[in-house]
Symmetry: C2
């Protein structure tokens, strides 16, 4: 049933030539006679010859595979990012090994181990919520495996990264709310990982300052992104004497949980409370009351750019020019629904 897989050796034997000639002919090496080349290529096609990748990987010390580590695939956001990565990888004839950290540091490390053992040529990663040190990634560089961080980027020097700036869009979002008359805008922020730049908060402050609206620190609360905690902090917000009329939500997960809970509390969305958010998930278009605006972070682009950067790193032999291409910052955009 299962046929024997042909090798260049057999091609060589059938043609009574040497295996190196076959190898070169198949690679269109200039120093091979046209006649021989044709012969070899014809026979190879007939025999359904296909080079044994594992042999090539072994010989070249390259696997033509990149590892992609994401917090999870359930969030539409990361699924979109994968598309960008896959696209660029495919163009370069690379495969993509995917692993989900599920926002668990230990798991992130384990995935990284598997990938290292698999000798992936490079790694793309959007770090987990728990990741508070990047030692495990730095170790990879020792093995000559470059790492590019994207989207969720640790806030440390000397790394390669691609991320999307949120500062301007955050200001846009708040301006939008202020223009609609809101004066008390709460910010439900995500987990305070020391490793990620906090542009949302910076934008939040700046917008208030610029519009001369005083900051009320009790309007800034924190969730771990779980539904339960989001509901709890939202409830606390609404019990304030000066309760907010609008919410800036860390992302669409938080926004959806907030809106759902607000409805349960019989609040009128867009009347008692308005919500703006980050991520701009396509799925929110199906909601009756989606966030009135959401910051688009172009995950597809981020994935693609990050992958391109990784390939640049793989191509360049000299470590010097690597520093130059290090960091790419994309612009986000406020989408009003």
């Amino acid at each position: 049933m299962s046929e024997k897989i042909p090798t260049i050796k057999e091609i060589a034997q059938k043609l009574n030539i040497s295996i190196s000639t076959v190898s070169r002919a198949l690679h269109d090496h200039p120093s091979i006679g046209l006649r021989t080349k044709m012969q070899v290529q014809k026979l190879a096609a007939e025999m359904n010859y296909e080079p044994n990748q594992t042999a090539i990987q072994f010989k070249q010390g390259k696997t033509f595979t990149i590892g992609l580590i994401l917090p999870n695939l359930m969030e539409e956001y990361f699924s979109l990012a994968i598309n960008g990565v896959e696209q660029v990888a495919l163009e370069n004839n690379y495969n993509v090994l995917i692993g989900q950290s599920h926002d668990d540091l230990e798991r992130e490390q384990k995935i990284l181990d598997t990938m290292r053992r698999h000798r992936v040529d490079g790694v793309l990663v959007s770090i987990s919520k728990q990741t508070n040190s990047i030692g495990h990634f730095e170790q990879l560089e020792k093995y000559n495996i470059p790492v590019v961080f994207f989207d969720r980027v640790p806030n440390v020097p000397h790394i390669h990264s691609v991320w999307c700036s949120l500062y301007d869009s955050t200001i846009d979002a708040l301006e939008l709310l202020f223009k609609k008359g809101h004066r008390r805008v709460a910010y439900i922020q995500g987990p305070l990982s020391l490793n990620i730049k906090n542009e949302r908060l910076e934008g939040y402050y700046e917008a208030h300052k610029h519009n001369k609206i005083p900051i009320n620190e009790s309007l800034i609360v924190t969730t771990d992104l779980s539904k339960a905690v989001t509901e709890k902090v939202f409830e606390k917000l609404m019990l304030l004497k000066d309760k907010p009329t609008a919410i800036l939500a860390f992302n669409d997960t938080v926004a959806l949980d907030t809106i759902q809970y607000a409805k349960k509390m019989k609040l009128k969305i867009n009347k008692d409370i308005s919500v703006v958010s980050y991520a701009n998930w396509p799925i929110t278009s199906y909601l009756d009351y989606p966030p009135i605006a959401s910051v688009e972070q172009f995950p597809n682009d981020q994935g693609a750019r990050a992958t391109e950067l990784l390939f640049k790193l793989l191509d360049s032999k000299s470590p010097e020019d690597l520093v130059a291409v290090g960091n790419i910052v994309l612009k986000s955009k406020l989408i009003v629904h």
Copy 2:
């Protein structure tokens, strides 16, 4: 900066023993003296020795990698399936290579080619909408690469498959609607791929028959799952003289598009029109008017079972016992919201 990666050869040299002894010691081979074994393992640990997977892959003719081909990752349904696959793969120390067909046959074939060249040990696949022949998969078996179909399974003999039966749940869904008084239930079916069993339709017929409710063929319409077509066929349904009071939607995508459009047409959901569906996406819990019920197909389980089946195939040397384990059918469950 980048350290040299140690090999068994170097361990052997430092210890003045042969590489085969080292190899055996690292594998806990019984014929190695305890003393030697300890020495070797100690030094290996100190040197941070790690076997070169690419060499092992080459030597063993195995890559310890399985390929997973899905229509797309955007559907929560498939993301969930991945979790099951990843879980089982990790337990077996296998890696997962993921590819999205984007419901495009050509792309499905291309991905398969890449995976074959990469010499994956086995393939898991949920076929694309367009896939009307499985020649490209059968070809894989020639290379001794087993294929397990799951969820979207072609309706042909002699394959290995894991899928979720929808017949009973479809009947449950219709019984639910009938019990609520509906007598004209439309069925918006998906693309009529000849390759997938049509249990939804069979259940639709049977439920009507059992309840002695006549079938009106004009209530059975077809969408290609695109929003535009779904809207078109729904509109046509609602223009019927005997228009339906309920919809059985092919899946949650169709259900959401239908509900959204119905609202645009000023129809009252759950009054003018009720919807039941398949897939039971978690995200629908955020909707104000989700389908009143949805058939849960346990994608996570399906992925896990399919992967287990694949490993069984990989383990078994004799082709005979492969036939026995061939097909697994799971039960679906109607979840009422």
